[in-house]
């Protein structure tokens, strides 16, 4: 479904590699969880897939087509959707405006209700509210997830989806991921999310350290986390 070959991302100022020579093959309908210590390049990797960042080298293919030089919206139209770690707010745009844009149609109340109830929100309380900072972090995060779900994309990317998921239970979030028929790529540290992965990708210092079932990767994740903490305290 989605293939990454020799992908690198360099920061121009100091020539430092954020990501170096990444090779990954994301198969249809599978759940992938990208994990690793802070600064390992997890968010950078998914931003490169969406086209938010441009790679220094390498190739990204989607359904066999080279999309390395396509713009964000061109990738979106092909069927890649992306949920931001920090949801974006707007002055003047309402929740329903964003859901209509995301689904590329004018939705009636019932459709909007369906989208929002899938993330545990009641449509009548939200559709006419501006998507601004008057909404709580948890509400914004759930609307962000709803926007992605409305797109019915082939590849869904979620950058730390659990952050700020307030009263809506974690179980609902996990169930939502399980129901998706898409190829799902999640950046996360959460054990419960790591457990549902068909494959966990462990990044370290901008490179793929390990790939495998959570049970296989788990010991390495713990070592990495401890190492990181020890380093911070020194």
């Amino acid at each position: 479904m989605l293939k990454i070959e020799n992908l690198s991302y360099l920061v121009n100022n100091d020539g430092k590699d954020i990501l170096k020579n990444i090779n990954l093959d994301f198969l249809e309908g599978k759940i992938y969880v990208i994990t690793g210590p802070n600064g390992s390049g997890k968010s950078t990797l998914v931003k490169l897939i969406m086209g938010i960042l441009t790679p220094s080298a390498g190739k990204i293919s989607f359904k066999g087509k080279d999309i390395t030089n396509l713009k964000i919206n061109e990738r979106a139209k092909l069927g890649i959707a992306y949920a931001f770690q920090q949801p974006v707010t707007f002055k003047g745009l309402k929740v329903k405006d964003l859901l209509n844009i995301a689904s590329n149609k004018e939705n009636d109340f019932n459709s909007l209700c369906e989208y929002l109830s899938s993330v545990g929100l009641c449509a009548k309380d939200y559709i006419n509210r501006p998507l601004d900072d008057k909404l709580s972090g948890g509400e914004l995060k759930r609307i962000e997830l709803a926007m992605v779900l409305t797109r019915n994309a082939c590849v869904n990317i979620f950058d730390e989806p659990e952050a700020g998921i307030d009263l809506w239970s974690f179980e609902n979030l996990i169930n939502m991921f399980k129901k998706l028929s898409s190829t799902t790529i999640i950046v996360s540290h959460q054990t419960k999310i790591l457990e549902i992965a068909d494959s966990v990708i462990l990044l370290k210092n901008g490179a793929v350290e390990k790939i495998g079932k959570y049970s296989e990767i788990k010991p390495y994740i713990q070592i990495e986390t401890c190492g990181k903490l020890r380093g911070e305290n020194e």
Binding site: V88, F90, K91, D97
Partner: protein, 306 residues
């Protein structure tokens, strides 16, 4: 009225759902049509151009329309409209001016409005300004609004100017009595070499009086916008001014705040932010399938009309 007249009227006065009641339509400096109702009387002034709009006490949920259209080049129209709103009345007033100038001479409208709100009255005032026509002549609008609010009165003002107006200079003066409340929402788009200046001077005289001014500006091309506000708190009161501006191309927006608490119980706030469209807003909309240009349009439309 011809097609252009009707189109201008539609743009300046039909952007709402309230049925037509009393009205006064003015074209090229002359009255075209006028209608009073038993609750709202429109009386022409004797000493100068303009009208008195007298809304009786206890009138509920009625509307007055006083649109102005100008299709002649070289016209400099000056008109005085005074609104007297009776106690306990609740009305919507729709004003505004549409200029369609195909000539090379300037067309100018200077509308001097005053609002006298009696106790417990509530007015929603909608003002649309539109400039059209491909002539070299300017489409110039200079509205002045003077507001006098008595106890417990509420005035809500919505001003919309969406491009095409070559030059505008909008001045608002207000004096608020006890518990009076004034809410102003101003949305202005300028393009090309247009200039739009706005100034507010609001004096909060009465105890617990309150003013809220929200200005959303979008400046494109080489256009220039200026926003000046002056809140004067003379009593226990609250005033808040928010000026948000989006800049595109080589445009410029200047925001000049002034808040003056003459009473130690006054609470006055000014917020201003001017800048380009936030990059993360564009990126978010692009991840939803919009091109950068489409995303920009959606953001601007939401900002001005949302």
């Amino acid at each position: 009225m011809n097609k252009i007249d009707k189109m201008l009227l539609e743009k300046v006065s039909s952007l709402h759902d309230i049925k037509l009641g009393a009205f006064n339509i003015r074209k090229n400096g002359e009255v075209v049509e006028r209608k009073s109702t038993k609750e709202i009387e429109i009386v022409p002034k004797k000493d100068k151009k303009g009208i008195d709009i007298i809304i009786k006490p206890n009138v509920q949920n009625k509307a007055v329309h006083i649109p102005v259209i100008i299709t002649a080049g070289g016209l400099n129209d000056l008109v005085y409209n005074d609104f007297y709103v009776g106690e306990n009345s609740y009305v919507t007033i729709v004003a505004g001016c549409g200029i369609h100038n195909t000539s090379d001479d300037n067309s100018t409208h200077n509308g001097i409005h005053s609002f006298h709100l009696e106790k417990n009255s509530h007015v929603k005032y909608i003002e649309r300004h539109v400039g059209m026509g491909k002539g070299e002549g300017g489409k110039i609008l200079n509205p002045t609004t003077k507001i006098y609010q008595k106890e417990n009165s509420i005035l809500e003002i919505e001003t919309l100017q969406l491009g095409g107006v070559t030059k505008s200079d909008r001045k608002t003066f207000a004096s608020l009595g006890e518990n009076a409340q004034l809410n102003i929402q101003e949305n202005i788009l300028t393009e090309n070499a247009e200039t739009a200046k706005t100034s507010f001077k609001v004096t909060l005289k009465g105890k617990n009086s309150k003013v809220e001014v929200v200005s959303h500006s979008v400046a494109k091309g080489e256009s220039y916008q200026e926003f000046k506000s002056n809140l004067i708190g003379k009593n226990e009161c609250f005033g808040h001014v928010e000026c948000d501006g989006i800049l595109l191309n080589n445009a410029r927006i200047v925001s000049v705040p002034m808040i003056d608490a003459l009473s130690s119980d006054a609470s006055l706030v000014h917020e201003a932010a001017i800048g380009k469209i936030a990059g993360d807003e564009l990126i978010k909309l692009m991840t939803l399938g919009l091109s950068e240009e489409e995303a920009e349009d959606v953001i601007i439309k939401g900002f001005l009309m949302g």
